[in-house]
């Protein structure tokens, strides 16, 4: 039996009367790509934010690699190996693409109380950063200011920063959001290379991406998980079909 890398136990978060996360439990196995889908407003980003540590749940537990991380800060979780990309692009706009990734590398290269050496000339940071940029396909754009990158390139940069932190679990929040068909395809192919080697939680609306990448899918509607299973099982699930097709969204 494969190990559970991430266990979410009865997670609950409400904003006033709105139950964004309504007693959600799920488990993510090591090496699997687990997609979370659901109509708009289902609470997907809220769930990801609680997993990454930017939002505190009202109750419930999150266990990562067996360890209870519910009360750890986002920074602490990053050092445990939990990396996150944002749905709304959140990069360092006034730094170059290379600087962006180098910062992520630096964050996991010990403490940063080094006051003298030029960080931009440090091969220990620059070389790994360049390698990762090449891997995601941004090698040629390394010295471009992040704000000047095309939207699709910025999404790639988000993923690059996730990789740079050498994660055990990648939380990807709509990585292909706003990308054209060709770009999305390339990103999907890229992410497919991690299947089996990395554990990925993928929030996505793009069903092609979801069905080609996911080993298992959980469907979130109004803050509740209504179904979890393989892509085939989910496709055939009547509750899922009505949630997406029956009531016309929500």
């Amino acid at each position: 039996m494969t190990d559970t890398l991430l266990a979410v136990e009865d997670l609950y978060k409400a904003f006033g009367a709105l139950k964004a996360t309504d007693h959600v439990s799920l488990d993510v196995r090591a090496g699997e790509t687990h997609a979370i889908i659901g109509p708009n407003g289902a609470g997907k980003t809220t769930l990801i934010s609680q997993l990454s540590g930017t939002l505190r749940p009202d109750s419930g537990r999150i266990r990562f690699g067996g360890e209870d991380v519910t009360h750890l800060t986002a920074a602490a979780r990053s050092h445990k190996g939990l990396a996150r990309s944002f749905q709304i692009t959140s990069i360092y706009r006034d730094f170059s693409a290379l600087d962006n990734v180098a910062l992520a590398v630096q964050a996991h290269a010990g403490h940063s109380f080094r006051f003298w050496r030029d960080a931009r000339r440090d091969p220990g940071l620059r070389d790994p950063a360049r390698a990762i940029l090449d891997e995601v396909g941004l090698g040629a754009r390394a010295d471009v200011l992040a704000a000047n990158l095309a939207h699709g390139e910025q999404r790639q940069l988000e993923v690059a920063m996730v990789l740079a932190t050498k994660p055990r679990l990648m939380l990807l929040d709509e990585p292909v959001a706003g990308m054209g068909a060709e770009e999305s395809q390339r990103m999907v192919e890229f992410l497919a290379r991690f299947k089996g080697k990395q554990t990925i939680i993928l929030v996505e609306h793009d069903m092609d991406a979801v069905f080609s990448l996911a080993d298992r899918i959980s469907v979130l509607v109004y803050g509740r998980v209504i179904a979890t299973g393989t892509p085939a099982e989910i496709r055939a699930n009547p509750d899922v079909r009505s949630a997406y097709l029956g009531e016309g969204g929500q």
Partner: protein, 314 residues
């Protein structure tokens, strides 16, 4: 250094500053030596604030506190007969750093408006403390009992050596800040300013780095304070008034935030402007006020944005 244009500008500016004393002597205007020395001292203060404000994004409205602490460290020691520069400057640095550590530890846990108000409030507290120190002049302040001396090598009573001493410190601090902001430490600081959420997500908690930056900035401003009290030969709590904090902040903005040369340009710009306005009317602040408003509204990039080599900060 990455940017050639910037480097040339800095060198030219420093050379110009170095040329002021001989030029002043040639034209028989010793006043300018005094004025530019004052400008350089404020440039040092502005440089220190720029580290946390321009690069760190921390809107500290209480930075003049360290100007005052440095000044009082020197003034109090001088009052008790200690004129040795190493001891005086040593105390100025230690006291500024120590108090910055305490104030920073409390304030940096907050952000935004709270941070502005809290830093302002703590400086005001020190201002009132200064006023209540009757033995050191209280409200009126007191004369500096004697100028700083460095083991027979340097006596700050001599205007010319004093001038070059300040210039040397300015150059040294410019280089120090340059190294700091480009180091790993500086990158983290700037990253936290650029996108705090992203910084936490990659695994860095900004607090310890911001605190260290705050302490360094405080210590540097303490040195400016020690120089300032030698410049004015007088010590008063108004060194720590919040209008003073606002002035220093203004120099940083006017010169161009998060650039190396900005604070120096800002100090030159603001103090020369004040000098000119004071020549016109004793009510010069009524002109300066609206000018400041206009600068904020329309000239955000500051003077550094007008110079060759501008574009990327270093």
């Amino acid at each position: 250094m990455p940017n050639r244009g910037r480097l040339v500008t800095i060198v030219v500016l420093l050379a110009a500053l170095a040329a002021v004393p001989p030029l002043a002597a040639v034209f028989g205007q010793p006043f300018y030596l005094d004025l530019f020395r004052r400008i350089m001292i404020f440039a040092i203060a502005a440089l220190s604030l720029n580290l946390i404000l321009g690069y760190g994004g921390m809107v500290s409205f209480g930075h003049a506190a360290y100007l005052g602490i440095g000044a009082y460290a020197v003034g109090i020691l001088a009052h008790h007969g200690v004129h040795d520069g190493f001891l005086q400057f040593g105390l100025a640095i230690a006291a500024s750093a120590g108090i910055a550590l305490v104030i920073g530890a409390i304030s940096i846990r907050t952000s935004g408006v709270y941070f502005i108000m809290i830093t302002l409030a703590f400086t005001q507290m020190l201002f009132y403390l200064g006023i209540s120190l009757e033995e050191y002049g209280g409200d009126d302040g007191m004369r500096l009992a004697g100028r700083t001396q460095f083991a027979g090598l340097l006596d700050l009573r001599d205007p010319l050596p004093f001038y070059y001493f300040v210039l040397a410190i300015l150059v040294a601090f410019l280089y120090l800040v340059h190294r700091l902001v480009n180091s790993r430490f500086g990158m983290v600081l700037r990253a936290a300013k650029s996108n705090e959420g992203r910084t936490r997500a990659i695994g860095v908690s900004p607090y310890p780095y911001r605190l260290v930056a705050f302490v360094i900035a405080g210590a540097m401003c303490g040195v400016a304070g020690a120089l300032f009290v030698n410049q004015t030969a007088y010590l008063t709590p108004t060194f720590m008034s919040w209008t003073r904090s606002g002035e220093i902040m203004f120099m940083v903005i006017l010169g161009g935030m998060s650039t190396l040369i900005g604070p120096v340009l800002g100090a030159i710009g603001l103090l020369l402007l004040e000098d000119v306005l004071q020549g016109w009317t004793q009510h010069w602040q009524i002109i300066l006020g609206p000018i400041l408003v206009l600068v904020v509204l329309f000239a955000k990039r500051g003077l550094a944005g007008l110079l060759p080599g501008s574009g990327r900060d270093d």
